[in-house]
């Protein structure tokens, strides 16, 4: 959690900080403020330590009693240190003050005395340089986009679907490109007034996809929190409940993403924009997908996949191509920027709305966009349609402000669908459909002592048709919930 409280923090607040802001920072510099963390899972505070300017000394003096008091209660501290000639000295002083790690934008040439948490801008991620814990900036504040809001309520109707900002795609990508490393998402609440409940939304959007948000409270909120304003205190407790919920389910981080569509790219350089946006929009459309880094194509099992979306213009290597065509010959669909299949394959138009050339190759098909991969939104929509909703693994009904992430446990004995609500209002009457035919599940949600049993029912069948999967009618979702179902979709 970010803990601004000293002169460096004050200097970052603009030219004319109000007296109220000064009071808030001063109050948060007091060890007594740490009382807020009692009983919460928050065990690490991120503080400004050295910016390489004249405020550094005052900042460090301010932090000293806080760090001492925090360490006595088991709280560790990570200090942000700016790049520059004084970096090594600043790191040394941090170590001496009891700071456990430093957050750096750049790595120095010489090794440091403290573990480094490397911080990257989201659009400049150097995945290969990620430290065991790394952070990313430049991310979105999760929630409904403001122009789709009317007060606290999403504007929705037969023609309107609220737009949701989410960092899910980044978390999912980080999981693949920096496996085994811990991702800290570094984003702050926006300037405009927000419903305080959105803090727990920021936690849920990060944690449900395997990342951690560096909690960042607005100054107004922090001031009100120490004053004990009831609405703010309640929002703080809800945020902590949400943190606690995910902390108690750390095992879910080991679950694997479920999906019948694999998206292959190197996700770097010139390919980053298209590939990142496609992931974002696939997620936005509630499509469940797997991410494969291009160089890992041969090592990832293709089991359960119905379609592969190869985004980069780069032609596959000979071995990769053999693998991809093997997938196609067995009935898979390859969506690629060019036709790489055997000569003489027959071409057909699939549908007037999907502008792809379709080539039949034995049991499968290769789909090639007539005009290339241009618009990420269209690529995402088309990929879902080409793979067909018939192969969907999960669906939400009345999903308006929610999204979901389907995973399965490493033993493939259970399916887990996490649902996040991106509105400050509870999501009512959401129905979860899963291909799985299990008719019972367990419902977990923040603030509840344990799981509740829920019954599913066969999705309404036609006369004489087999029931297509199971539907679970969910109680109102405040921030997040998870449905665990025995068995898997496959």
């Amino acid at each position: 959690m970010k803990w601004p409280c000293g002169p460096l923090d004050l200097s970052q607040q603009g030219n004319a900080p109000t007296s109220e802001l000064k009071d808030t920072l001063a109050a948060w510099a007091q060890p007594a403020a740490l009382e807020l963390l009692k009983g919460t899972p928050i065990n690490c505070l991120v503080v400004e330590w050295a910016a390489g300017n004249s405020d550094d000394s005052g900042q460090q003096q301010t932090l000293k009693p806080l760090i001492e008091a925090g360490r006595r209660t088991g709280i560790s501290f990570a200090g942000k240190v700016a790049a520059g000639p004084a970096m090594a000295a600043a790191v040394q002083s941090a170590r001496a003050a009891g700071i456990s790690a430093v957050v750096l934008d750049q790595l120095p040439k010489e090794p440091l005395d403290l573990p480094v948490i490397r911080r990257f801008p989201q659009d400049g991620m150097a995945w290969d340089a990620a430290t065991p814990i790394f952070s990313a900036t430049g991310l979105d504040w999760p929630g409904l986009k403001l122009d789709t809001m009317h007060g606290d309520t999403a504007v929705a109707g037969p023609t309107g679907v609220p737009w949701v900002n989410s960092n899910a795609w980044f978390s999912l990508l980080g999981r693949e490109l920096a496996p085994g490393k811990i991702r800290w998402l570094d984003f702050d609440p926006p300037e405009e007034t927000r419903h305080p409940a959105t803090y727990s939304m920021a936690v849920a959007d990060s944690e449900a996809y395997g990342s951690r948000w560096i909690i960042s409270l607005s100054n107004d909120f922090r001031g009100a929190l120490l004053k004990g304003i009831p609405q703010v205190t309640a929002a703080w407790h809800e945020t902590c409940d949400t943190l606690d919920f995910f902390e108690h389910h750390r095992d879910w981080q080991e679950f694997q993403s479920e999906g019948i569509l694999a998206v292959i790219s190197d996700y770097r350089g010139d390919h980053a924009f298209l590939s990142n946006e496609v992931l974002n929009l696939l997620n936005r459309n509630r499509e469940q997908f797997r991410i494969i880094e291009r160089s890992e194509t041969l090592s990832k099992p293709l089991t359960g996949l119905k379609a592969i979306l190869w985004l980069d213009g780069t032609t596959p290597t000979e071995a990769q191509l053999a693998d991809l065509l093997g997938f196609v010959r067995q009935g898979g669909l390859l969506i690629a920027p060019a036709y790489w299949g055997p000569a003489g394959a027959s071409e057909q138009i699939r549908d007037p709305a999907i502008d792809y050339r379709m080539y039949n190759v034995e049991k499968g098909q290769i789909a090639v966009p007539v005009e290339g991969f241009v618009n990420p939104y269209q690529v995402a929509v088309d990929a879902h349609l080409l793979a067909s909703r018939r192969n969907d693994l999960v669906r939400l009904f009345n999903p308006a402000t929610t999204n979901c992430h389907a995973t399965y446990d490493p033993a493939r004995k259970a399916q887990l669908v996490q649902i996040v609500n991106y509105s400050a209002q509870p999501a009512d009457f959401v129905t979860l459909w899963v291909r799985n035919h299990a008719r019972a599940g367990r419902l977990w949600k923040p603030g509840a002592p344990g799981a509740a049993s829920i019954s599913g029912s066969a999705a309404e069948p036609f006369s004489g048709a087999a029931a297509p999967g199971t539907e679970f009618d969910l109680p109102a979702i405040a921030v997040a919930c998870a449905v665990e179902i025995e068995g898997s979709n496959s």
Binding site: G157, P158, P352, L385, P399, S463, G464, G469, D473
Partner: protein, 384 residues
Amino acid sequence: MMTTHCSRRKFLGAAGAAVGAWLARPAMFLARPAPAERVAVGMCPDYGPRVMSTLATMFDQLGGLDKLVRGKTVAIKLNLTGDAHTRLGYTPASLTHWVHPDVIGSTVHLLGQAGATRIRLLESPIITAEPLQEFMLEANWEPRQFLSAAPRVEFENTNFLGYGKKYSRFMVPGGGLMFAGYDLNHSYEDCDVFISLAKLKEHFTAGVTLTMKNCFGMTPCTIYGDGSGVDEPSLVPMGGRGPFHSGQRQPSKSAPPMVDRSGIKEGGYRVPRVVADLVAARPVHLGIIDGIHTMTGGEGPWVGKGKHVRPGVLVAGTNCVNTDAVCMALMGFDPMADRGTPPFETSDSTLRLAESLGVGTRDLRRIEVVGTPISKARFDFRRA
């Protein structure tokens, strides 16, 4: 490049409306009374196998499907309003605001049995140009069930050009109440028989939505939508049919122009006129209403005051105004009602407007109801 489709396709004995006269004279000066055809009402307490037998009986009561469809291409406009994942509470769309797949499947099967050579299922799913089958799948439907219900069943999303090379033009006999004509997806022309398969519902803007209002969804949003092209149709539909409601913008200039000069921008005035125009320009040969399960209070969950109800009734008729008049009576409304009287508190009556265009009468005294009498099947929507 449009195909002008001013004349009704060769009509069938069972439908029997005097169409030729419409083309020669202004709508409001019809000499002969608006047509009155038989309407069948059948009780069917729930979905399942009984839907098929009930519909079969009703079609027989109307004179038999064979005469209508044998050797013909049949187009069915479905009512799948809104998106595929919005429900009224937890209740699936097919039990509230969408025609139920059992009614579609049974109709398709009976049409195939009666000798229809090709059956096209049509709808313009909101905002999207995606294949209609994909739209159905999103709602947990299985479109293969329809494919296997009869030989040669096809789907088309009619919200854009689709499989056609050009839009088909349908001029409104008598010049039109709102527009002189409408440009529609080719499927509405490339058929011999046109069926409107709708749900028994009230409507927020138009009072009721039955076989006629269902035809509002024939209009492609590439031409009539919020984001349609200014000069030519857009390639894909963008936005809903807001311009029809509010008149805040005109359709693409390639389409026939607006003829209404009132300057009224109110949906309750405009939408019923558009609907009356459409059913006059693209006649409905058979209207079928699914009132087994439905909802009160409006056309979909977004209206916000709906309730899932089970009237347990099916209605069919070869004249859409007559059919809708019987449906209104079944819903507890007076089909002769007009603006200011339920369900037309804030709108004009589409039935009255279509009647004025000579499409059919709404006068129950002139309509023969077969099967279950209205009095025994009535389900009062405002008291449910």
